[in-house]
Amino acid sequence: MIETLSLKTLTRRQLLSRGVAAGAGLVVGAGFVAGRDAAWATEMDAMKPESFATLVQMARDIYPHDKVGDRFYAAAVKGYDVPEEVDFAQEGLEMLDEAARAAGFDSYLAAGWEADRVAILRGIEDTEFFQRVRGGLVTGLYNQKEVWPIFGYEGESYSQGGYLYRGFDDITWI
């Protein structure tokens, strides 16, 4: 889903010089959000980069997998960066920041520890915004073929002749 990686041609230094750190692993610049390691970047079509960074962080906090990089979460929520969805998302994210401020932080991203952010999310988990983002992630995140190997799932097998000769019964520890 996240195909627009044209900024990837920038060097790491160029990229970082054009943006500011947002949250733990993200960099936000004019019209783009990137990984702190500059391994990926995505241009914004409709959403404010700060909002998108918040959304990516929120996605990770909902379904945290330490071995899954931010780019997969970014891809999973990139669908909100379109004119039809952007108002819904940005309003929801403003509400999230508001909840963060009520909890004593400057913003959701400014809450540095996962435990604090999760507590903020618990407070809004019954909202339509939270439920739609969470529900969308179930397919948006876990149905990305690129994340499957991280979980040890091999996906399609017919073209390789199934597992009859490729380990359907190769367990040795039992």
Binding site: Y142, N143, F151, Y153, S157, G162, Y163, D169, W173
Partner: protein
């Protein structure tokens, strides 16, 4: 070869739906020389078309037209418009099914007599019994090529099975094997042996698993007596002043309303659509719906109590490699009220791919308790519980206020567990966890029932007309030339996966219809 019959041809048997019930009935009748028009709402997909990808396959084959839900089952909250996971395609849900094919136990045909009065349950004995069904089970097993029957060898055990088997034996279970499966363990009937692809739920690309889509249906068509009209959605069944059915109205692929005349109509749209169709066919003569003088159309909906248990281990299992459901423990299937419930349950191996696991492990859950389980996906083993749930009148299909794209009222599905269901499920969760714990699970997870795959009972069979919708032959008590031919005719659900029984009933019903036609009684 299709045999085009005229819309005005009133000598044909019209079958609505081409799944386990309708697809088999269509072929069996065609083989006997009976002219059949089978109307199927879905399109036609064959092994080359099937997709080794859970969501894509779901999009291709599943019934996703709206349905609504109510009741306190969790499905109504988590999947409010998807009460069932069933298929809309030529061959029906036999494209998605896993192939587990086991007979009812003799006492399960007589649930009321065996279990006695169960408060809040609407139990009834089937008007038929084990002895009467035995020869039809024999024929069904050989049609489906069921392993461990008729000299067909069992399937080899997969990784998921080996973990399951070792744990089950460790805690003392005796009846543990790779199942009686409608999956070829060796080449048979021109179909090859299972290649352990692991996508049984997505349509078997090798054709190793039996599905009506590429067995019975083309066999019936080859006789010249069967015409399957796909993308034909039946809207209502018509009748004359004498109360006999005369044909059906359906929307064709282009959305045009057509009328096919018929000598006999057989309803086989699975347990939501069949009662929906009867209810939507109300008329001034039958104001409560067709065949519904008992008021039982739509009632006593059963879905097996189900639930899953996943175990996480120190080392990899790769449960998704190989057959999805070839593994069973049958020790708990007996009726033994000392366990605190009537009826019994089967435990069967099950695996889901990562995308479905994420959707079904604990719908709505989030945070690390959930994600750490998925982090161990590779080291997971899984099993499914299939237990007899109690028929209750209040669990039922009714017409919703919502309409589909044709302006037809959709089915609302109401379900709440009976106390017996809950007790049995808790028992099964504990036994399932014990199996995995016995072989070193570091964590076990009980998983709630998925959208229903086994849908039963909404047009049930009964001796007396006031207790049900159809008689011992699946013939409507109220309408002499109307039949129900799918899982909705189940009087009770038993502990076994239903399809072998649906197929056996269809074979039996074909004999009955053909002989009634021959004698002029139809």
């Amino acid at each position: 070869m299709a045999a085009p019959f005229e819309l005005t041809d009133d000598s044909v048997v019209v079958i609505i739906g081409t799944g386990a019930g309708g697809g088999v009935l269509a072929n069996e009748l065609a083989q006997k020389g009976v002219s059949v028009v089978a109307l199927e709402a879905g399109g036609r997909y064959l092994p080359d078309d099937y997709i080794n990808d859970e969501w894509e396959s779901f999009g291709q084959l599943a019934w996703t037209d709206t349905r609504t839900t109510s009741g306190d089952w969790r499905v109504a909250k988590d999947f409010s418009n998807l009460p069932a996971w069933i298929v809309k395609a030529v061959g029906g849900t036999t494209t998605h099914w896993a192939g587990a094919s086991i007979r009812f136990q003799p006492h399960e045909w007589k649930a009321k007599t065996t279990y006695g009065e169960v408060e809040g349950a609407n139990l009834l004995d089937w008007p038929i019994d084990d002895q009467e069904m035995a020869p039809f089970y024999d024929r069904a097993e050989s049609k489906l090529g069921v392993t461990r029957t008729h000299g067909i060898p069992g399937l080899p055990g997969s990784n998921n099975f080996k973990v399951f088997e070792a744990g089950a034996k460790e805690i003392g279970y005796k009846e543990v094997h790779t199942g009686r499966m409608a999956i070829n363990s060796q080449e048979r009937d021109g179909r090859m042996a299972c290649q352990q692809t692991g996508f049984c739920f997505q349509g078997c690309k090798w054709g190793a698993k039996w599905s009506a889509a590429y067995t019975d249906i083309p066999a019936g068509e080859a006789t010249g007596n069967l015409e399957v009209r796909e993308k034909a959605h039946v809207a209502r069944i018509l009748h004359d002043d004498s109360g006999k059915v005369t044909g059906v109205e359906y929307f064709d692929d282009a959305g045009n309303l057509q009328m096919q005349r018929a000598r006999v109509v057989c309803v086989a749209g699975n347990s939501f659509e069949s009662p929906r169709l009867l209810l939507n066919s109300h008329s001034s003569m039958f104001p409560d719906g067709l065949a519904n003088s008992s008021g039982m159309v739509g009632k006593n909906y059963m879905r097996h109590l189900t639930g899953s248990v996943y175990g996480i281990f120190e080392k990899p299992v790769h449960m998704y490699r190989g057959t999805t459901m070839a593994g069973i423990v049958q020790d708990e299937a007996r009726h033994d009220p000392s366990r605190g419930f009537v009826g019994g349950y089967e435990l069967e191996t099950l695996s889901l791919g990562l995308p479905f696991m994420a959707a079904f492990l604990d719908p709505g859950a989030w945070g690390r308790e959930f994600t750490t389980a998925l982090d161990s996906y590779e080291n997971m083993a899984g099993m499914w519980i299939v237990g007899e749930d109690m028929p209750q009148e209040s669990n039922r299909v009714t017409l919703s206020d919502v309409e589909d794209k044709f302006g037809l009222k959709v089915a609302n599905v109401h379900y709440s567990d009976h106390a017996n269901d809950k007790t049995m499920r808790e028992h099964a969760y504990k036994q399932g966890a014990a199996i995995y714990n016995a072989v070193g699970a570091t964590r076990t997870l009980p998983t709630p029932p998925y959208p229903s795959t086994h849908n039963l009972g909404t047009n049930r069979m009964s001796e007396r007309p006031e207790d049900g919708v159809v008689n011992r032959n699946g013939r409507a008590h109220d309408v002499p030339n109307l039949y129900v031919s799918d899982g909705s005719q189940f009087t009770t659900g038993a502990a076994e996966n239903p399809t072998l029984t649906i197929v056996a009933l269809a074979i039996r019903q074909a004999e009955h219809i053909a002989s009634e036609m021959q004698s002029g009684a139809l």
